[in-house]
Symmetry: C2
Subunit: 586 residues, 2 copies
């Protein structure tokens, strides 16, 4: 028996009890004839006291303890003279009468405290020490609870968690697959799943009715800051449902999660069409923690004055920043630099301050009459003291995206995006297709199994780009946490969609044959969605990076620096796999 209590549970009520604790030495300090040590485990910190006058040898032993040594103590719970209000166990301490060193520790490369941080490289190399820090550990505790509550909700709703295979075949659309050479089938490869999309559709054909899985997925992409080669999805699918059934079911799940984990009652999720999201926020994942909607100003500013930039624009839009007329010229120049950065790519920024007297002072004053400026103020519903910021450009989509970045920047500057405030919504009615400049063809916006809205099916022949899909995303605070669609269950409609995507029947058969074959045997109407668990948990934990809710994340080169993976393998193993490495010549 290594302990009778943990380091987090003793209170005044326990005073007088004899207890055994085990844990790590957080720090020690000598004061007069006493030695104090903070003993830490997953559950908390408890103060230990060694009294030289009672047991000099024991106290001497305590003085030799180093940081992060693992010890076991036996002692009596005692009320503290000077209580520590910041610690749940701060009312008590342990008068130690027996000390066993279970393991010594080398001096750790950084101290294990809330605010300590050895820098990202060191943290990742010594992740097992980084994880000892309560702030990091709490993220994993939240993740555990989150996943458990997902399962509890879905189980109650009659969903079955069904494991789908990890060794599958290469998927035709989407990102690059990780592949696994098969020794028993030389020259052939498994692929790791980017998602269990087709497998969950097969489970619907199999009559499983309500499926979910919290499952690892894999994408061999060049990693951006917040991408991981392996990530976790909450993958769900239902049969005999329409879009409304799915929105209700998963709105319920979000409500359950917010309530049980954060004790927050979220309101009914607003639903915004993709068209409106683009029009008012310039994004399909609008951050609705704050308003500051776009106002389109083509009628007001195009052709109504001598400003050629606006006169040539395909789009002119503005946002009204409440009370920000105090922005100095220098601050406005910074904003202009911000929108001109290559990642954003605007040509410039037009501003207008509304004075206390209600008059507008703008960087384009000289081009417009007072009437036009008055129209601008009215269109923007700007009040005295407000700042109007305007972006324009020859491409509506691009200009809106620039204005979106500007809006988010202003929201951040104005403190309108606090991490502890949550604003959830559904974005619905996505287009079926988006044009790919690279591929010079229409591409499926979600995936090729997404069902068009029934009323838009006739448009497939005449104007496919305008067809809307039965597709939906759940967006929280500007982050797409999940998304999905109603799937096509009709073989003829599926064939037509493939044609529009540019697949010949032979190509479609080759790429999706096993799914198409299954669909011949009575596929039910079905649909579903998938959440990114890492992102969803990150939002709940108010993290900047998904890495902080992953026990052992990989870096931007796809390496686990702690394990030193990937690594080289033996020639004999390559031979068994019938593989040769062929590195490019330097």
């Amino acid at each position: 028996m290594f302990r009778t209590k943990t380091c987090g549970e003793l209170r005044l009520a326990n005073v007088g009890e004899s207890v055994t604790l085990s844990g790590w030495v957080q720090r020690t300090r000598k004061m007069g004839g006493m030695t104090f040590a903070d003993l830490r485990d997953r559950y908390g910190i408890t103060q230990l006291v060694f009294d030289e006058s009672t047991d000099a040898a024991l106290c001497e032993q305590a003085n030799r303890l180093g940081r992060e040594w693992v010890i076991q103590v036996v002692g009596e719970v005692s009320e503290r003279q000077s209580k520590n209000q910041n610690l749940p166990t701060g009312d008590i301490e342990i008068i130690v009468r027996q000390l066993v060193v279970l393991n010594e520790s080398a001096v750790p490369p950084f101290t294990i405290e809330e605010q300590s941080d050895g820098g990202d490289d060191l943290r990742m190399k010594y992740r097992y020490l980084d994880l000892r820090r309560p702030c990091v550990r709490k993220n994993l505790e939240l993740r555990h609870k989150f996943a458990f509550e997902v399962r509890r909700y879905l189980d109650q709703q009659g969903f079955m968690e069904i494991e789908t295979p990890v060794l599958v075949n290469s998927t035709p659309e989407g990102a690059r697959d990780f592949v696994v050479p098969s020794r028993m089938n030389p020259g052939q490869f498994y692929a790791l799943p980017q998602s269990p999309q087709t497998l969950k559709q097969l489970l619907m054909v199999a009559g499983m009715d309500r499926y979910f899985q919290i499952v690892k997925c894999f994408r061999d992409e060049d990693l951006r800051a917040d991408r991981q080669p392996e990530f976790t999805q909450i993958d769900c699918e239902m049969s005999f449902v329409e879009q409304e059934d799915i929105l209700q079911m998963f709105e319920g799940m979000s409500r359950h999660l917010f309530k049980t984990i954060l004790n927050i009652d979220i309101p009914t999720l607003p639903r915004m069409t993709w068209a409106d999201a683009m029009k008012y926020y310039g994004s399909d994942k609008p951050d609705t923690r704050f308003d500051m909607k776009f106002v389109e100003l083509m009628d007001v500013l195009k052709g109504t004055g001598e400003f050629s930039v606006f006169n040539e624009a395909e789009y002119i839009g503005g946002i009204c920043c409440e009370g920000q007329a105090v922005y100095t010229r220098k601050q406005l120049d910074q904003l202009t630099d911000f929108v001109r950065r290559p990642q954003i790519g605007a040509k410039g920024l037009v501003y207008a301050r509304v004075g206390e007297d209600g008059t507008l002072k703008s960087s384009v004053d000289k081009f417009y009459s007072p009437e036009v400026l008055e129209n601008l103020k009215n269109a923007m519903q700007a009040k005295p003291g407000d700042l109007i910021l305007i972006i324009s450009g020859p491409d509506t989509l691009k200009a809106r995206k620039q204005l979106c970045e500007l809006r988010l920047e202003m929201g951040s500057r104005m403190g309108l995006r606090p991490k502890d405030k949550f604003s959830c919504l559904w974005v619905i009615d996505f287009p079926m297709y988006e044009w790919s400049d690279e591929e010079q063809r229409l591409m499926a916006m979600h995936h090729p199994f997404t069902s068009p809205k029934p009323e838009d099916i006739p448009l497939l022949d005449t104007d496919p780009a305008s067809v809307r899909a039965n597709a939906y995303d759940m967006v929280i605070n500007g982050v797409e946490v999940g998304g999905g669609s109603i799937r096509i269950h009709d073989a003829k409609l599926q064939q037509k969609i493939f044609e529009i995507l540019g697949f010949t029947p032979e190509q479609a058969q080759q790429k999706f044959g096993f799914l198409m074959n299954a669909f011949k045997y009575g596929a039910p109407p079905h649909g579903g969605l998938a959440y990114g668990l890492d992102r969803f948990v990150s939002l709940f934990a108010q993290l900047d990076s998904i890495r902080d809710c992953i026990a052992f994340p990989k870096n931007n080169s796809g390496r686990d620096v702690m394990l030193d993976a990937p690594g080289f393998i033996d020639q004999s193993q390559l031979d068994e796999l019938c593989l040769q490495i062929d590195l490019p010549k330097e």
Copy 2:
């Protein structure tokens, strides 16, 4: 809204209600002017009635329905004239007034009914149809519930489920790894984990205290009948524990699972030492549903008569089969053939029947005096009507294994191994090492991190083969469902164990460096175990093969015949990975 009720929930109390159901047409039949159809979904089967005299067109539509068509009906719940006691919905039927065909179906390659079975190849190719059969679906439902209850129990006990990475590095001991070429690190490979063993130990170093994970693991082994290249473990680890703490915790989990899933109260698990298991059952996973323990007969039969086989044996052991003296000569010859099969490898079998008068008639009568035969009868505690079966051989371990197979065979023949009876136990005190003829060295019986029993540590220097480990297996009905050990947390002891296993310090550092490094920073005492989920669920579901509780299993060549995986990949993909395929010349 595709349905207001499922096909499994309507009862007499619902009579008169108007309902909408959706599902698959199991079968249709015409009787007089009526057409009946069985409509099936995940939840059950409901009988539909179409009345020609009420609506001839509708009835005609129903007559065109084929097997496995997906339909939606609207109708009224009505009491059946002839009730079907075998069906929970057997008291009612639906008088249909509206029928919509949601999807047609091609004629399925086998019928979707309990007892139908297209043979293994067809079942696997059309697994999505096979899964529609209730008997197969029920296994997945049980698996879902099983996993959920595991999580519920462990969550209540303060365990955190923590996801460990799937893309890791190659593990040094154990079976062959599946590897994944890294595009971003050319020439290097990830490995898929055979188990998260080292990662969970790192989580203990990280202070996570109580960890578990239901996790996919991978082994690239030549597949035997009941092995899968990917399988699922319930992986668990605890800090600050001794063996007793772990046995208690996971005995509690088994009790929880048996109670919540099968409504069975299991008794306290007996604990059997490995030595006793080998002595009395010839196996480290004894089937204790029945007794029939081995009796060692060296004292009784070696050197007490003229039978040279026994006189030269290193081991002679027998089992007493109650009431089986009725076995004919032919049946005994069959048993002899059974133990002589190459998989078992015994040279022969000696038997003795106890007659109703208490006298022994044996195949070796002529070699032994009546006194010796009387001694044999007494040693075996054989009663009139019993059959004694004896195996001997020059190698104790091998002879015991042969006798074990014979005991299991007799248990099966005598009906002592019913699948709905469960006998659980712990096997403890495993040896640390076993001799490998192949490697000509001692090998770790569990893995190299297993801790020896403290009292046996001195033997490490003098007689390592006799050292017992703090290792334990949970055995149910002769199946090892889980096993684990207390780990070594002391670096010096670990070093010694590596030496005994024949690793130089350099080799140990190269193979286990990241774990050894972590252990320098205050590793707590820890231990754990892992269950094979597939096996555990198979036992609960009384299945012959783990495949039947896996949604999409692979065949013995590691192929998923439904997905047709693995498969060939594009040259461009190989180029990106800097790989060439080098198939052996025919």
